[in-house]
């Protein structure tokens, strides 16, 4: 075993010893899973680029790091407010993985909705959590899911009773602090959406400039019959943050899961998004947008498992990469034997703004049934010269035209976003990130002014 793996295991041992002293024994099933996670992590170690799933992503920045665990959730309310999305919503806030009751907002939570921190759910009735937790994302999934299981103690549990329709969005906010030493957190999110329930979940990762923390998230989402869930993952973590997330969704018949994976921040970002379409007429839509600058590394892996006939998946990912940023897109559609009459569509388009940026794309199809319609398309290139010409013929200079078209490129994903605050925030962020030569500063200010009116 490498020293790197050992360092994380040592941290775990220290932390558990301290917890045992302050909180006493935990339920045996949790201890057993924790042990299984640690054992699995110990056996696998951190992935290397020799592992096919990590071929383009080097996680040494994480493996070589020395991360403590945050002890408190102190965060200045003023700066928290500045970072919080301006949306009327129910909100759970975590600071470096630690729950902050002060920064959360649960007033007026409708009947049929249960939104609690994982620690509280475990304290209340740990047996009710024990069943679903870890069922979709086990310790075998990846070394990171094993590590998460070994450390799990905080996160969010959202339960929607059958037929519940939540009008206001639900925000899970993760704040990253710029401290003296980097910290790590292993949040765990569990969503159980009962039959015919509807909700919008916004997962927001943001933090203080200068933070360089490691977040290792595992999310399990269970959609019962006819449940509808729209899930925004707005990741605008500080630019030195390390972010790994595994999202696993299970869908019963007639359910619909819509994912927006919006990646703007972080130094090293890896997301695994998996949906198991287990019942007829289950549909998943994956939308993604990533913008990389400097030496950012953004890796998105998606997988749609068509386990039942008459299931549908649709995917559209867009990437913009500047400077020496490195983007990875790996989208996979698997159609099981006898899953007939399915449709799976996948599209990925990337724009490279710099000669030192790199994109590695791998759209995969694995099909074992014949009556299917599946396709994927991937393009990487530059902006359409004819479109630039059209704008120039209207008196817009070349660079501004390029800037506008780049914004429009991102806009194809953002126009699917129903929550205006999210769409605007991302659009402004993209405009702000565009190279200065694109002359968009004035336009962005005008847009902000318009937004303020």
């Amino acid at each position: 075993m490498s020293d790197e793996t050992q360092r994380f295991l040592d941290r775990l041992a220290e932390h558990r010893a301290a917890r045992l002293e302050s909180q006493g024994q935990e339920p045996t099933w949790i201890a057993a899973r924790r042990q299984a996670g640690a054992a699995r992590f110990e056996a696998m170690g951190f992935p290397t680029r020799r592992d096919e799933a990590w071929k383009y992503t080097d996680v040494r920045a994480i493996a070589r790091g020395d991360f403590a665990l945050a002890a408190d959730a102190d965060f200045s309310p003023a700066s928290a407010a500045a970072l919080t999305l301006p949306i009327d919503a129910f909100r759970l806030t975590f600071v470096d993985g630690v729950f902050s009751a002060a920064l959360s907002q649960l007033d007026g939570l409708p009947a049929g909705v249960s939104l609690v921190p994982l620690s509280a759910a475990l304290a209340e009735n740990h047996e009710a959590v024990g069943g679903p937790l870890g069922r979709l994302t086990g310790v075998e999934f990846s070394p990171f899911s094993a590590l998460n299981t070994a450390f799990m103690e905080e996160g969010a549990v959202l339960r929607l009773a059958p037929g519940t329709v939540v009008e206001k969005p639900i925000i899970l906010q993760f704040l990253s602090r710029a401290g003296e030493a980097p910290v790590m957190s292993h949040p765990r999110i569990l969503v159980e959406a009962g039959g015919r329930s509807q909700a919008t979940l916004i997962e927001h990762h943001v933090g203080e400039e200068g933070a360089a923390n490691f977040t290792n998230l595992v999310e399990e989402v269970i959609l019962e019959r006819n449940a509808l869930l729209t899930h925004y993952k707005l990741q605008e973590a500080p630019l030195a943050d390390l972010h790994v997330a595994s999202i696993h969704v299970e869908q019963a018949r007639d359910s619909r899961y819509t994912s927006f994976n919006l990646n703007l921040g972080g130094a090293l970002v890896r997301t695994d998004l998996i949906s198991d379409l287990n019942g007829e007429n289950a549909t998943c839509d994956f939308y993604g947008l990533f913008y990389g600058q400097d030496r950012q590394h953004v890796d998105s892996h998606t997988l749609a498992n068509h386990n039942a006939p008459h299931t549908f998946s649709n995917e559209n990912y867009k990437g913009i990469l500047d400077d020496r940023a490195h983007g990875v897109f790996n989208g996979k559609v698997v159609v099981k034997r006898d899953s007939q009459k399915i449709e799976g569509f996948q599209s990925n388009a990337n724009l490279l703004l710099s000669d030192r940026a790199e994109i590695d794309a791998k759209p995969e199809l694995e099909i074992y049934a014949d009556d299917v319609k599946c396709s994927h398309g991937t393009t990487t290139g530059q902006l359409d010269e004819e479109a630039i010409y059209t704008l120039r013929s209207r008196g817009i200079d070349r660079q501004t035209a390029r800037g506008l078209l780049t914004l429009a490129f991102a806009g194809e994903v953002l126009e699917e976003v129903d929550v205006d605050a999210v769409a605007e925030r991302v659009e402004l962020a993209v405009a702000g990130k565009l190279p200065e030569r694109f002359n968009l500063a004035g336009l962005v200010e005008a847009a902000v002014a318009l937004g303020d009116e």
């Binding site: 096919e52 383009y56 034997r337 006898d338 007939q340 990337n350 490279l352 703004l353 710099s354 000669d355 030192r356 940026a357 790199e358 994109i359 590695d360 794309a361 791998k362 759209p363 995969e364 199809l365 694995e366 099909i367 074992y368 049934a369 014949d370 009556d371 299917v372 319609k373 599946c374 396709s375 994927h376 398309g377 991937t378 393009t379 990487t380 290139g381 530059q382």
Partner: protein, 480 residues
């Protein structure tokens, strides 16, 4: 479609299955340094060639077989394979067709390849490979007149050692991969083509491979070099007799194109795919790579793959020269329990390089087929361009079709497009044809041929005819 017809198709006997009884000078199974020394001696090779082989062998010993492909087969016992088999009388090789063993000619007759007729009618020079030694080479004089060298690789080692030394292993190094290393150690024959500066080869060159003696692996090594402004079109086609033991085939093909040169390499592969339980077919592990070394050079791979129990094959282009061009056109048909993992690699290094990939896969029966491709655009490949189209057609609900395209793009001025679709034969298309009085079977044949048209039109005429016939036979009665 009627399931009986499907059954019929799956049970279709291998048309080209028969064994010619020719006494072989065969080495007992097993592989060590002595085996390699024996092969080298038997071939009358110089010392440096033996050293070259041993270097590959020693590297091979330290390597492990690749496991990443979407293939499932039992481990191969490399000690159970005989590494040398030559038809009798190697010292006394026939100089013309008249001198060729009549049994051999008979074999070609059964295959429907009347060698002399075909050579005369189609203007094709045939370097016929029976087992591992070239036994007949025709039209040599005519080629010599043009300055083109076309001979077996063993002959080339003896006659043109400088050329072989310069180019052999320069595209596919001895240690490139497990199977290439094995081939480098034990290759027994293959073709060597050298087209000098400014010469357009006066005819299409062709080699028919045929695996014959039982228990022998076939390790072909082909090297084609086109100097500045030279052009050649090379045809490779193969069939094999029916038998029960798995036969390993690990060939290496190297192409080198200098400035403005053009190499077109076409393959029709119809080796024995195994019986309905997948027993006995050929294992085909091939390394094919072309090096567009010169500016404006062009290499084009066209393949029609219908045979073999297992196909592991990725004809590739390294686009080094400025504005060089790589092409890959492929039709792969799998049926029964065949497994194919095939595709291409386009490595763009030079400025303004272009590549086109068109891959059509048809899976039927219980077969599994994967397209695996890599398009890599290096940081210096300004304005590089790639277009990839890979479509899969599924016939029957027990087969699988998979696509694993890799794209690694490191230049902002590059344009890379990839499109892939998977579907079955459209019921509306079938209905339309049938409503015009076309039988279901003919309709399927038409639709499938239309599906493959983009690739077939890249094939040289004679091959295109053969390929279409092959496709119809393979998919006889298999209406979706």
């Amino acid at each position: 479609m009627a399931s009986e017809e499907m059954e019929q198709l799956v049970r279709r006997d291998y048309k080209e299955g028969f064994v010619t009884d020719i006494e072989s000078d065969t080495l007992p199974p097993g592989l060590d340094e002595d085996t390699i020394a024996f092969i080298s001696k038997k071939k009358g090779e110089p010392e440096w060639m033996l050293e070259w082989r041993l270097k590959a062998y020693r590297a091979w010993l330290k390597m492990t077989p690749p496991s990443w492909a979407h293939l499932d087969y039992p481990p191969i016992d490399y000690q159970a394979i005989s590494y040398f088999s030559a038809p009798k009388r190697p010292e006394d090789r026939p100089q013309s067709l008249d001198e060729v063993d009549p049994k051999l000619l008979e074999t070609y007759e059964k295959l429907g390849i009347p060698l002399h007729e075909r050579a005369a009618l189609a203007g094709v020079a045939v370097d016929a490979v029976f087992d591992s030694v070239s036994v007949a080479t025709t039209f040599k004089e005519k080629l010599a007149e043009a300055g083109v060298i076309f001979c077996s690789i063993s002959e080339a080692v003896k006659e043109y050692p400088e050329l072989v030394k310069q180019y052999l292993g320069s595209v596919v190094p001895q240690t490139d991969n497990y199977f290439a290393a094995l081939n480098s150690a034990v290759f027994t024959d293959g073709s060597f083509v050298f087209v000098p500066k400014g010469v357009t080869c006066p005819m299409e060159l062709s080699t028919y491979f045929r695996i014959n003696a039982e228990n022998t692996g076939q390790f072909e090594r082909t090297l084609i070099v086109c100097e500045e402004g030279a052009q050649v079109s090379y045809l490779e086609g193969c069939t094999a007799p029916m038998r029960d033991e798995n036969q390993l085939h690990a060939a290496v093909v190297e192409l080198v194109a200098l400035d403005d040169a053009y190499i077109k390499y076409s393959t029709v592969q119809n080796w024995y795919p195994g019986d309905e339980d997948g027993k006995g077919g050929i294992y085909n592990f091939v390394t094919k790579r072309g090096d567009c070394r010169g500016d404006r050079s062009r290499i084009s791979w066209t393949q029609v793959e219908t045979g073999s129990a297992i196909t592991w094959k990725y004809p590739s282009c390294v686009l080094r020269g400025r504005e060089s061009k790589g092409e890959f056109y492929s039709v792969a048909v799998t049926n029964g329990r065949q497994q194919a993992d095939t595709g291409t690699k386009m490595i763009h290094i030079g400025e303004g390089t272009r590549s086109t990939i068109v891959s059509k896969g048809i899976s039927a029966g219980r077969s599994n087929q994967s397209y695996r491709g890599l398009v890599k655009i290096g940081p210096r490949a300004k304005g590089a361009r790639n277009f990839t189209q890979c479509d899969s057609l599924l016939i029957g609900d027990k087969c699988g079709a998979h696509t694993f395209p890799y794209q690694e793009i490191g230049n902002s001025t590059a344009t890379v497009e990839h499109e892939a679709t998977t579907s079955k034969i459209g019921e509306d298309q079938l209905f339309y044809c049938q409503s015009r009085g076309i039988s279901e079977e003919d309709a399927v044949s038409m639709i499938v041929n239309g599906f493959c048209k983009d690739v077939f039109q890249e094939l040289p005429m004679e091959f295109a005819v053969e390929a279409e016939a092959l496709l119809s036979v393979t998919l006889e009665g298999s209406v979706g």
